[in-house]
Symmetry: C2
Subunit: 336 residues, 2 copies
Amino acid sequence: MSDIEIFDLGDLQLQRGEVLMDAKLAYGTYGTLNDAKDNVIVMPHGYSLQHPDMEWLIGPDMALNPEKYFIIVPNMFGNGLSSSPSNTSAPHDGPRFPKVTIGDNVRVQHRLVTEKYGVERIRLVTGWSMGGLQTFQWASLYPDMVERMAPTCGAAKCARHNYVFLEGVKAAITADATWNNGDYDEPPKVGLRAMSRVYAGWGFSQTFYREEEDLKLGFETLEDFLVGFWEGLFMERDANNLLTMLWTWQHGDISDNALYNGDINKALGAIEAKAFVMPCRHDLYFPPEDSKIEVAQMPNAELRVFESIYGHIAAFSLNPVDVEFHNDTLRELLET
Amino acid sequence: MSDIEIFDLGDLQLQRGEVLMDAKLAYGTYGTLNDAKDNVIVMPHGYSLQHPDMEWLIGPDMALNPEKYFIIVPNMFGNGLSSSPSNTSAPHDGPRFPKVTIGDNVRVQHRLVTEKYGVERIRLVTGWSMGGLQTFQWASLYPDMVERMAPTCGAAKCARHNYVFLEGVKAAITADATWNNGDYDEPPKVGLRAMSRVYAGWGFSQTFYREEEDLKLGFETLEDFLVGFWEGLFMERDANNLLTMLWTWQHGDISDNALYNGDINKALGAIEAKAFVMPCRHDLYFPPEDSKIEVAQMPNAELRVFESIYGHIAAFSLNPVDVEFHNDTLRELLET
């Protein structure tokens, strides 16, 4: 649907001190910016995804209607389209790619929206998983600008349990000696396969597997699902890219900046947007209890829970019932 | 407390067809068998453990009182004390150690109890995790013999989600090239470290980590907990032993025998024991929903839930409140 567009960031000063030379923000757009510049939706994406992966949520019959809104889907640093280990020249190639925070990501998205498009108000920021983290970061860093927000299966700060889950993912990739501290000649396939299997238990709920939803999705066996779905998600990704985004996730904290100095309640309390915070009842790494704690700190937020056995994947495209709830909830939010 | 005792099994015909030569069942005992031979408790242990690891639940002030009961703690095949890849000579050494089912384990325990001790009735079978699986297997294979049962954080059959979680653990160990398909010269330390990190997210609940219970246990930081607790659990284990027990777990199914022919409801329905089935509310791989489904098939069973944020580890020794509930519930069961 959308071609890839590039916003040149020049030499980018990053939060943790490094300068990323000739940095690029890749993004996709859907629809047309109106003259009043007040029809903008920003939708950051989740871990290991790229902007086309979000197109299932956009369409003329959907809440995110490109005939009405101008929808920008920015690519995260490290996702292979924006500046990433896999597409950056020396000295920042491969494992030498600098550490990028969620704040770094959102600040360059803000530059894109303001400098390139001259936009001052955003109708809605919404995103899934790490896209939810970016959604929180947008609304907290730019409270005057973000009118509505809907983070789905995400959080404002990486929970300690979530951090531990990601330690397992990281350890699986890096246990493969082919990885070679990031200077690999061939992809560390054994490690990527291992991380796919580690991820598989987390992505969907226990009930999803008990009720054999994987087979209902068309896979022949559980093993077929582990290979066809999970390995399919990760085997073709670049390991350094995955590790870069994983670091961003593990260190995700919307209060990690001079405005809030690590005070997460202050960072949440500063949000002015009308917010629907949308966890899934059976998400194993963003449990709704975490979202409830966040909502209690936000002045204008409601909890809207995916009642789904799809767990973390409820807010992705697989389950029609969840997609309907997702779309209806976004529509309701956009109409307020 | 207990020396290790050995029961010689001779050349053991295993369920999947292989014969394990000169097989050994190692076990520990606590207390004295009375003349009536009616004071026996059998307590199988969980994954990667050995009989001394269960001694925290045994004592003169505990429900499992060795002054009253004769408590037998059998070691699983593959745990390093009973026949295992690490202590078996060629041709069944290392990765050539045969596949052992949970039925194989329980059948040799039955031989120990009947042939060595002449016991016909068992007062209680109880065990944690894979020990719970063995508990179900005992009561289902020998319904005339098992009077009471209390599986804690376990199941009668490895759930599909649990299987997937274990795929991640297995993939982490075997991603280390040092593993060399089980013929390693040095332990695959990178793989063992990786599997420890994978396990860490599953062992305790999200809330456990949110409330920083790891720090309350005396660890300085989350990283300190991952190393000191989790790597401490697994780094000194033999990788082939871990993989042997993991196979047993993944293929655990108390109906996988000629009696029940894979009909799990029939296998559960055959149990006559008075049963307290004891999952933990926040166990991430034995969710209480699974236990509830099992209890519905059992003629004489009640659900007794650990209301604990310790998750799967609630039924181990770490949390005094859980230990008290555990002990009180076993006492109540023994007194019925």
